[in-house]
Amino acid sequence: MSRRTVAELSRSLARGEFSSTELTRDYLSRIKQFNGVYNAYITITEELALAQAAAADQRRARGEHGPLTGIPIAHKDIFCMQDVRTTCASKMLSNFISPYNATVVERLNAAGTVTLGKTNMDEFAMGSSNETSFFGAVRNPWDPERVPGGSSGGSAAAVAADLCAIATGTDTGGSIRQPAAFCGITGFKPSYGRISRWGMIAFASSLDQAGPISKSAEDAALMMNAIAGPDSKDSTCVEVAAPDYMATLNDTLQGLRIGVPRQHLAEGLGAEVESALQAALKVFESLGATIKEVDLPNSHLSVSAYYVIAPAEASANLSRFDGVRYGYRCADPVNLEDMYKRSRSEGFGSEVKRRIMIGTYALSAGFYDAYYIKAQQIRRLIKQDFDNAFKEVDVIIGPTTPHTAFKLGEKNSDPVTMYLEDIYTIAVNLAGLPGMSIPAGSHKGLPIGIQLVGKDFDEARLLNVAHQYQQNTDWHLQRPEV
């Protein structure tokens, strides 16, 4: 039953080859068998999953199902789920039971998905290796000595090891795309504002966006159809209805204009990644696309701008974790200040504290103009770069990461080295554009991903391009030996 895409599982469920309950039991047993190795899940919701599976089977019997009804799914532990522990992989929330559902969860519940559990992640989504989790590091299914990427490392590992059919993730600077690249799967970050952020624990509000982590572009489109679209609970979610992403998957790529950023082919890009990218471009050419270089002259500034804006927003977003109303509170505080200091010092991990301090500093009187305002100016320039490039091309394709998955502990000593992991993905968040990573090669048994970037709210085109690539290649079908 396992190792199939959502689209395949959906067809099998429709044909009655097996029930959702059987499928769910199969996934639960795989989780029991392998989660100890990969640590992809923080919480397994077995009881809930079986109840949802039974309900899905009944829906199917009544003919009230959609393509996702009965499909086993995992949610990144950043999405609030009512009556389920929602930790954000932090000690701060290690006992937090959410009183409500995130819109993404609500919509997938309504579509009839079966929730297997909550996946591991970097604490508060801050990290690129999934090593900052309070619940321990996640291991890459292709090589357990290596990281799965982050911050949605648990979701990516769970999909790659087939411990769920599909998963949700969030992406602030590359947190869906980079782990998708490291784990050899498809990761999709929609345009900022396409999917409601209600119930998604905020890291950097102006950059965070939810999206699917899946085995194919078609599966991503299936999930997008369920979760995209306006939500009155999120003012930054656009009011325009989302299109049917399945409808355009098979559009031809004849005449598609692809841009390759000159700056992404420069120093720092691993040779194995570059050759995979070139091979992929050949495939696109064979499908009728034309390739040209484009210029993103300010892309070298993106990491610096990001590490001002994201920590600045995070420093305020994480102020609510103060030990007063919920979450971790230190033992026996002697007064208010002591309670604040120790609850936050003990409740947050070191990377989270580092970013709170960077953000607090950047917003301080006397530094605000030099850091925050300057970073916002760079952000506008980066958006302009993309706007200019998209005058000449329809999609931009480049590497997702400079190299394949690195070893656990390899980049922990120097935060800046870790921050540079997201050098190709961060600009996309700063510009608010849709981006995705699809598998396009392999090196020494480790997957290589390429990144596709689309125009504002042009998700359908991006999914179409990725799907056509996957119809003509089989990188996305390769699975690790679990």
């Binding site: 609030c80 929330l93 952020r197 950097a204 003012s235 420093s315 305020a316 974790f321």
Partner: protein
């Protein structure tokens, strides 16, 4: 040395919306603690704000009422600080782009002259919750019912020159807010709170002195007392060769003094930045004009109309238009009795005296406008005299009876039967032969004595005109 006082007021007005600024929670005052705090108000992880449009409408209404610039694009910012009753660890407010920009307010000074006070800005922000320090054995309880309630913070220019001006400004602001119906303006319940920035300087100086900020003054009376106290304190310090420290001070009404809360020198760095969870609020001319069309008649316009339409003095018109309730009450009385001046007298003198004595607002008046109108109507149609009317007014206070029932049951109708009056006059003349002789001898002053005697015997009920005429006729014999 002659000192000049410089005062600027920051007034927080709780806007009277059904739900909070960014959440659907109710705003009713006095509910059980934390029963009106939803998941956003509690700053549950993942929750987001949704701007309540009713708040925008109220802010724009206020802006138009003070002739202010209306921000076509206003932006919310986060003001960061930690406090247990501030659940998110930041307050959402408007820093650089407030909804209401520069405007002004005209106030009337004690000598009757007018002064225009500049208003710097008025911005929308959320209120904090309350920390409860009693009843928790040394611990602090948090009530988040108020957290997230919409506030309009109205900041004046430092153009007030003494405590009385500050009170006049605050009262005018209060009146406008009630006229607009955007807040209940209840200072005791905290719906309107005032912080005063106070400094002193030598008369004629162009630089401002160092100011202190007096926090949370919760009545008009305390504003005056707090400022006067603070001015005295500052002058004493400077005259003793000292220096004023810029700080926040708290007014203690029991001791009638201000005391230091915290020094600005160690104050928070609030690290403001634009709130990324909310879009800028953009409004166009059509929106502004639609709000303008909803504006009620404001105090100054009403005063002018009372003068021209009802023939009132500037003073009476000013008193009667000082609040919308007062003006409405007055106009209802006029509608019933038809006498504008008599109504003005009764409302400003008799009724106001009664209210002052019992410390009541016009809205709590024990005598309704319709009953007062009926009473004045009976003076006008000569059923009772003005003097008797005062007795009826007294009787109305403890009674549910109508004006006519009171007059009827206590037999207070004027005696207009000429036979009865003649009998009365005859009695009085017969009983006072000595005074009759004096009158007839030319001492006309004695006439008043006869009126008094006759009124006494008739218990004030004799129609004065008829009594006058008959008495004169009989005495002259």
């Amino acid at each position: 040395m002659v000192w000049e006082t410089v005062i600027g007021l920051e007034v927080h007005v709780q806007l009277d919306t059904k739900s909070k600024l960014f959440s659907g929670s109710s705003t009713t005052f006095g509910a059980e603690p934390n029963t009106q705090a939803g998941i956003y108000d509690l700053a549950m992880p993942g929750t987001l704000p949704v701007f309540n449009e009713a708040v925008l409408r109220m802010a724009v209404k206020f802006g138009l009422a003070i002739d202010a610039e209306i921000g076509r694009r206003s932006v919310f910012d986060r003001k960061n600080y930690f406090y247990p009753d501030l659940p998110k660890g930041y307050q959402v407010t408007q820093l650089a782009f407030p909804t209401v920009g520069k405007g002004s307010l005209q106030i009337t000074l004690e000598d009757g002259s007018e002064k225009v006070i500049g208003i710097t800005r008025a911005h929308i922000e959320e209120d904090a919750g309350k920390s409860l320090h009693e009843d928790f054995q040394g611990l602090t309880g948090i009530d988040l019912n108020r957290a997230g309630t919409a506030l309009l913070e109205i900041v004046s220019e430092p153009e007030l020159r003494n405590a009385k001006e500050a009170v006049a400004y605050l009262k005018k602001l209060h009146a406008i807010i009630l006229y607009l119906g955007i807040s209940d303006g209840n200072m005791a319940q905290g719906s309107m709170r005032c912080d005063a920035n106070v400094s002193v300087r030598q008369l004629g100086a162009t630089e401002f002195g160092t100011r202190t900020e007096i926090k949370n003054i919760n009545s008009f009376r305390f504003v005056e007392k707090a400022i006067n106290h603070e001015v005295r304190r500052q002058i004493d310090i400077i005259e003793d060769g000292g220096r004023i420290i810029q700080e926040t001070r708290l007014y203690d009404a029991d001791k009638d003094e201000t005391r230091s809360m915290r020094s600005k020198e160690v104050a928070n760095d609030y690290r403001y930045f634009p709130e990324p969870d909310l879009l800028p609020v953009v409004i166009d001319e059509a929106y502004i004009e639609a709000v303008r069309a909803e504006l009620p008649e404001l105090p100054n316009a009403k005063r002018a109309r009372f003068v021209s339409q009802y023939g009132l003095s500037e003073y009476d018109a000013g008193v009667l238009s000082s609040s919308r309730e007062m003006a409405n009450f007055y106009e209802e009385v006029v509608n019933i009795c038809g006498d504008t001046k008599l109504s003005a007298n009764w409302v400003t003198v008799d009724l106001q005296g009664l209210l002052n004595k019992s410390d009541l607002e016009i809205s709590q008046s024990p005598v309704s406008a319709s009953r007062l109108g009926a009473l004045i109507g009976r003076i006008k149609d000569q059923t009772i005299s003005g003097k008797i009317a005062k007795a009826v007014f007294e009787a109305m206070l403890g009674s549910e009876q109508s004006v006519d029932e009171i007059i009827e049951s206590q037999g207070l109708q004027q005696v207009t039967d000429s036979g009865a009056i003649e009998k009365l006059v005859d009695e009085v003349i017969a009983a006072n032969p000595e005074q009759v002789a004096q009158f007839r001898a030319g001492k006309e002053k004695v006439f008043a004595f006869f009126i008094g005697q006759a009124m006494k015997v008739s218990k004030g009920k004799a129609n004065p005109d008829q009594l006058n005429a008959l008495l004169l006729q009989k005495l002259k014999g």
